[in-house]
Symmetry: C2
Subunit: 328 residues, 2 copies
């Protein structure tokens, strides 16, 4: 299955230079941002990108800025060589794999202002003291510590970032929006493709692009599922066979809810209970299950316009997310 071998670029300036050279030749550039360990879901994004632009850049970078220090940064799976093989097998291939070592190394640290990326912080809580030295609040921080000359600029989609996954992952969308901004500024793409499995992420990036006037078209690409119905995710590899079997309750109950809605059950409370009970019975631990407006992501009580049923649940030590659009 050997196909076109992508150019591998690790340097920011070299990446931007490549894009500018191509643009000066009249080419358009599509970006597919990933954290690697590619599966068929990622590949579908590359295929989608081929529908929009001449050239394709896939970025592979596990972004410490979107993990809190208690999350699974250190165990996030990776297999770069296999990723390249998979990309070579895509019809049309990809032109560049952008694979930076550290997007937050600005090469001008002071000893006191160390950027602790990669260090093993045991605790993700930073204590904030008021004038009197009294502890006023605790702030959750990411795996990038802010101090001295370290990274401290964050792009925040301040309403959307707090909903759904934002409740249990307070630094996640700040980190995603920031690294996507960096990638947009480095790769300067015409189009960027995101998976609708990460529905909130996709909507946040769309809103960010609109609000900050980025000249990038954001495409949402449909969820890809394994044959058993489980939405593809790099984290699925951590599920035991038993946990995987139990996790199928997510997709099954979402399908039942969608079917019930289509048959006239538009009371969201009823539909949500149906899913919660099914996942609960299978042994999953619900983080959230909400029916929300497709654009504002605000909860709705009754389905009267296009909505999405969005869910996050734990199976063992793995947190899975999934969703289903319902347009009656």
């Amino acid at each position: 299955m050997a196909g076109k071998e992508p150019e591998i670029i690790t340097d920011k300036n070299q990446m931007r230079k490549w894009s500018r050279t191509m643009r000066s030749k009249g080419k358009t550039i599509g970006l597919v941002p990933t954290m690697g360990y590619l599966h068929e879901g990622h590949i579908s994004l590359v295929r989608e990108a081929h529908n929009h632009t001449n050239l394709i850049v896939v970025s592979i970078y596990v972004n410490p800025g979107q993990f809190s220090t208690t999350e699974d940064l250190s165990t996030y799976p990776s297999d770069f060589d296999r990723d390249i093989q998979k990309l070579m097998a895509v019809p049309g291939g990809v032109d560049v794999v952008f694979h930076p070592y550290n997007l937050y190394d600005y090469g001008q640290r002071k000893p006191s202002g160390a950027n602790n990326f990669g260090s093993s912080n045991d605790n993700c809580e930073k204590t904030i003291c008021g004038d009197g030295g009294k502890v006023e609040k605790k702030e959750v921080v990411s795996c990038l510590e802010e101090s001295g000359l370290g990274h401290e600029t964050w792009v925040r989609v301040e309403r959307l970032e707090k909903l759904l996954c934002g409740k249990s992952r307070p630094v996640f969308f700040r980190g995603v929006a920031t690294v996507v901004t960096k990638l947009f500024n480095i790769v300067e793409p015409d189009v960027a493709v995101f998976g609708k499995k990460d529905y909130q992420q996709w909507r946040i990036i769309q809103r960010m692009v609109r609000d900050l006037d980025f000249s990038v078209e954001v495409i949402g690409s449909d969820i890809v599922r394994d044959n058993d119905g489980l939405a593809m995710s790099s984290r699925n590899v951590h599920l035991s066979p038993e946990e995987r079997e139990k996790a199928l309750s997510i997709n099954k109950s979402l399908l039942r809810a969608k079917s019930a809605a289509e048959k006239g059950q538009v009371d969201c409370r009823e539909l949500i209970n149906l899913v919660i009970q099914a996942v609960d019975k299978a042994g999953g631990r619900i983080d959230y299950a909400e029916i929300i407006d497709q654009e504002t992501l605000e909860a709705v009580e009754e389905i009267s316009s296009p909505v999405v049923f969005s869910i996050a649940a734990w199976f063992g030590r793995v947190r899975l997310i999934d969703n289903m659009e319902i347009s009656l």
Copy 2:
């Protein structure tokens, strides 16, 4: 004094198209972002820009996103025709004046999600309620209200934005970093020039550009003073003759502090007291007076590396800022 007449562009897409056309011809573009009511300080930024690029864009836009609703958005002075005359008198002139009507109009509002830009909010505090409806905290918001489909993405330089002016103007630097991001994405300049009078703003933009990988070189341009020593500011027009006379105490005492430092007084507490007493005696009300590291903006106790003495003070209803770099 008639010179080159600038092209006036009000539309975002037209602005970006102009820049891309010029870049494709090998031209470089300098941006001078302003809020209009131009004075010799702004003109010096345009002159500085001419040292770096072929073409100059001056943006004139009073940004509601950086004013809290209790601040002086409604009384901020403007005189567009005079601004154009002043720009035409600069040697070399400017190529484009980008003068958008509303940078936050995305043309897709829902009735419930009105973007209240321009409305007369009496109160800038938004009450945040917890699950039980109990008031948990009050949040200061800008003159752009976030709700529904309104603007909600903010670029935050999270440490630097809280220091100095950030203490009394909690939405200011969030608003500045955000509108500059928008301008960078619309104008796509090679170089942007900022005045060092707004020292913290200049450093925040530099940090933002580094942290978000913008491909823009940020130039800091020296403070321009009137003959009497007052740092030029659009807000000076609101000073009565008496207040203006009193306000000269800022520059005079900063010069005395610098001179004292050069003669060996490196104890910052002593130098700060000297300035506070002089401004206080003149009838000014100090907001802050700090001696800080030129890059991290962190307060220092003793001058042993390049610092800047940074001050904000009220004279009547006008808040002035000024600063002086001290490199022994």
